[in-house]
């Protein structure tokens, strides 16, 4: 009855994407939540930008980056949350052992979660970018090709962190769930979302530059304020992201092995 089992199968990836699509489709509160918080924050930063932008001097120029910074931060945060929530849904529904005893490979699982993070992010972010045009005249999409570079780099970071957080929850159970929600905020001050890296104390700056999103946010400011696309920053972020993704994948597999050693996969429902 079963087909020959391949070591990698897009069909199994598709099965997992379908599983989460069924879930999203069946739950309007889940869909609403995807748009709700980004919309609330976009309005907050949009009005702040409008208010401060009326002040004279250099500050007005700086705040023009607030909306772009917020929207890029939201890609980073929602990308990771979208990844982690799809994983947590398996834990909440006590379905993880069913998946782990199926032919689904960890690689396929991770790819399915990655696809779902893009799906969830798109559902949340696209309407909010349209609202930003309507209410504040800010066209996020006008960033053009640079936006694609920002988007790709931020998503890669979000997946790396998502993999790590999912591994932690698998290894330590739902007690570690709060980390999935809060870990990204650890990077908020260090990645200099709303201010340049030069603001940080000198000894913190190397740490900041080791975080891929820092280069993206610096690149965004260069684009919005100086109208210059900094390809060097994007390449730096890309290089770091390759390392981060590798670290995320290794940590996920290592924590999965730890879960099998500690028996936490059979204690999920108990």
């Amino acid at each position: 009855m079963t087909a020959q089992v391949a070591s990698f199968s897009l069909y199994r990836v598709g099965a997992m994407v379908l599983r989460h699509w069924y879930l999203l489709r069946s739950s309007w509160p889940r869909l609403l939540e995807l748009v709700y918080w980004p919309a609330v924050q976009m309005f907050m930063w949009g009005f702040l930008q409008l208010g401060v932008g009326k002040l004279p001097g250099a500050l007005a120029g700086t705040v023009s980056t607030f909306l772009a910074a917020f929207l890029l931060w939201d890609i980073l945060f929602r990308g990771q949350i979208g990844y982690s929530i799809s994983f947590l849904e398996e834990m909440w529904s006590r379905n993880m052992p069913n998946l782990m005893i199926s032919p689904l490979r960890p690689t396929e699982f991770v790819i399915a979660l990655t696809i779902m993070s893009v799906v969830r992010l798109s559902i949340g972010l696209i309407p909010v970018t349209i609202l930003a045009i309507v209410f504040f005249g800010f066209n996020f999409w006008s960033l053009g090709l640079a936006l694609a570079a920002f988007f790709a780099n931020l998503l890669m970071t979000s997946w790396a962190v998502g993999m790590f957080c999912s591994g932690l929850v698998m290894r330590h159970g739902l007690g570690a769930e709060s980390l999935a929600w809060s870990l990204m905020f650890f990077f908020l001050p260090l990645t200099c979302v709303y201010y340049p890296v030069s603001v940080l104390p000198e000894w913190v700056q190397p740490i900041s530059w080791a975080l891929p999103p820092t280069a993206v946010f610096e690149g965004m400011r260069a684009l919005v304020i100086d109208h210059a696309f900094r390809a060097d920053l994007m390449l730096w972020a890309l290089g770091l992201n390759v390392l981060w993704l590798a670290a995320g994948a290794v940590s996920f597999l290592w924590l999965l092995r730890g879960a099998k050693t500690s028996g936490s996969l059979i204690q999920i429902g108990e």
Partner: protein, 249 residues
Amino acid sequence: MTAAIQAEKLAKHYGDSIAVDGISFAVAAGSITGLLGGNGAGKTTTIGMTMGLVSPTGGRVSVFGADMAREPYKVLHRINLESPYVDLPHRLTVRQNLNVFGMLYGVADLRGQIERLAADLDLIEFLDRPAGKLSAGQKTRVALAKALVNDPDLLVLDEPTASLDPDTADWIRGHLERYRARRNAAILLASHNMAEVERLCDRVLMMKRGQIVDDGSPPQLLSRYGRQNLEEVFLDVARDRRKAKEPAS
């Protein structure tokens, strides 16, 4: 012929606590083997290691010749599990759940397989209902349908009739007997229902404190302990109140 399950000196320790203590057993293809023991006897950990969910501390367990700690993906498409400690996604309908798991197992003619399972397990009327809105008996039947979606050669069942009314439980047992006969599948059954074990199992492994303390067919165990039913045998073993008249072969 390769055994469905072959465990050799299989052990699992959690720190100082010994969950499974170097057990060896084999489950033949086409047989139904019962795994009996009180709470904490090591049944769930043994099942976890058999399914590749738990890594052994020592020894090995292989399924159809594949070491489950090292190469589980060689055989995972041929086995399946039903357990009350595992659920299906509640918001997905029964049909959606079976569709997803059928895809994961690479089931050919999945639509036809879902229709057959729905007919066999009497699921037709709630195929399009969310799994979380079913009664306990209906959920058990759906979980069994998921466990049978790939027509497994090894079916592992942990308390398959727990919390079911006698009629539904009897109906499930009948279905399992027919499935074994039709597919010549091996079934490993952990249960606290002694009547169920007596009816279904060709062989029973009695576990206590992580060890297999007795092993035989239900009639052999009854004769060995001089008892009328397996419940009395279970109590003898659990309470150390009577030793077997003759040792297990």
